[in-house]
């Protein structure tokens, strides 16, 4: 394999592939997260992540590439969850049913497949340093699908998250848009499985958005900032993983957590100093 001439720590092919996958997921996941957070559905990512685990286990049992089975199971479940929510079933309840059902099915199927091994762990905790070219191609294709769809739907989705009832009167296809968001959430999760693993996927969807909300004063800037922060976390997390031999999935997410902590402290200090300046002027 030919490696690009990049400086350390991306001088090796496996690090370059990891960087490509990490940057795509770092940009795509918060793009979806911005709408989920506003709809108070942040945990949808976690729920679908656990369902994806059942899909991975199914793939291992059937001898099919687990990414495909995870994609099919996740998208189908996401659409059913959205349908239940739209019909008035409590979002929490619908999510819990699939959340626990998914993890239980995953455990049972894994037992049947006899594959409680490192292969499964790569999906549970992420294994970005072992992604191959085929994995990266899938991640990039899924990332392009997510970004392109969001480029077309983001204005209408924004109107829906502001006021769903108003959006219906305005003739926006609310059910279709909610379905697209749910399906894209599932696609994002499958793209992120190898990067951070099933257990940490929701973090990549939610944390960059939480960071961006501290600095952005418009929805457009929130989207931009959350993508920048998501990609930054992937980049810094990978460097830290190479430098100190850390688990890359965990170090990417911890970078996002640290970014949030730093921004939150800076925001509190800025607000305090603004209040102090106002008092001085008075």
């Amino acid at each position: 394999m030919i490696a690009f001439a990049l400086p350390w720590p991306f001088d090796r092919t496996y690090m370059q592939l990891a960087l490509a996958a990490g940057l795509v997921v770092g940009a795509a996941a918060p793009l979806i997260g911005a709408f989920l957070v506003q709809k108070r559905m942040s945990l949808l990512g976690d729920g679908i992540g656990h369902i994806a685990f059942a899909g991975v286990a199914g793939g291992l049992l059937l001898g099919v590439w687990p990414v495909w089975t995870a994609l099919v199971v996740s998208v189908a479940s996401a659409l059913v969850i959205e349908r239940l929510r739209a019909r008035g079933t409590s979002g929490d309840l619908a999510l819990a049913l699939f959340f626990y059902g998914g993890i239980a099915a995953g455990v049972v199927i894994t037992g049947l497949a006899g594959s409680l091994n490192a292969n499964l762990f790569a999906y549970l905790f992420g294994s970005i340093l072992t992604v191959g070219r085929a994995d990266v191609v899938v991640v990039v294709v899924l990332g392009v699908v997510i970004v392109a769809t969001m480029a077309v739907t983001r204005r209408a989705l924004f109107a829906v998250v502001v006021d769903e009832e108003w959006a219906r009167v305005a003739g926006l296809p609310v059910d279709l848009l909610n379905g697209i968001l749910a399906a894209l959430t599932a696609v994002t999760i499958v793209a992120a499985i190898r990067v951070v693993g099933v257990l940490l996927i929701a973090a990549m969807i939610v944390l960059p958005v939480a960071c961006a909300r501290l600095v952005a004063r418009s929805f457009r800037r929130q989207l931009t900032w959350s993508m920048v922060i998501g990609m930054g976390a992937a980049l810094v997390g990978l460097i830290a993983a190479r430098a100190w031999a850390l688990a890359p999935g965990g170090s990417i997410v911890l970078t996002a957590v640290l970014t949030y902590a730093v921004l939150a402290i800076a925001t509190v200090r800025r607000r305090r100093s603004q209040r102090f300046s106002i008092r001085m002027v008075q």
Binding site: Q38, V152, T153, R155, A156, F158, A159, V162, D163, E165, W166, A167, R168, V169, A170, G171, L172, P173, A212, R213, A216, R217, S218, F219, R220, R221, Q222
Partner: protein
Amino acid sequence: MPLTAGRDLIVRLRGVTFGYGREPVVEDVSLSIARGEFVALVGPNGSGKSTLLRVLLGLLEPQAGRVELFGQTPAELREPWRVGYVPQRPALAADLPATVEEVVAGGRLARVGWWRRLRAADREAVAHAMDSVALLALRDRPVGELSGGQQQRAFIARALAGEPQLLVLDEPIAGIDAESQRRFRESLSHLIREHDAAVLLVSHELGAVAEDLDRVIVLKRRVLFDGPPPELMAAGVSLGVHREDLPLWLERLG
């Protein structure tokens, strides 16, 4: 003979009944609104105003009767931009990181197609809508930082941005200061005069707009009164601030 006979009808309800349980909330309601008319729908608390509005907008299916907007049922309406809607106290998340302009621009989507980018003419319409409710100077301010009255004006601007032919407003004046009410009145007059649009306003207090109304409809499950304001005043009910003014009278009806 109906007051709108022979005129170009925008809204037509015939024998509409709807209830959440066994008891109907609105019963056998028939009314019509013609192009260029300014109509107020009033009634005491629990009289069915909001329910009737939701049926009219197609958010609820009538259990009996028929609703027509521009000659079509709400579900069949091919050009939804023709209806502008200002909901009562929209449930806006306080932490929504969105500017006034972003929210108001949403009102243009139905007009241009939800998948399309807004062009220069659309941006101009959005700016005009913000100006008409005195919010142009606050266009870059996050909506979460606005007062309740300013937020309400932002939602009025969102409805105006689509340049609707029927504007439906649910309690739009509550919490708005006098200057904003004046601007609001001007923008409604402009919409009716220049665009020949119809306006249906649901409110307890008609305040600043009372003088401009063509018709008042009083609802208490059924339509109790449907006529021009002078006829209501002839029945001893004043739309202004008098002993027998509208809010007091409605309270007694309840």
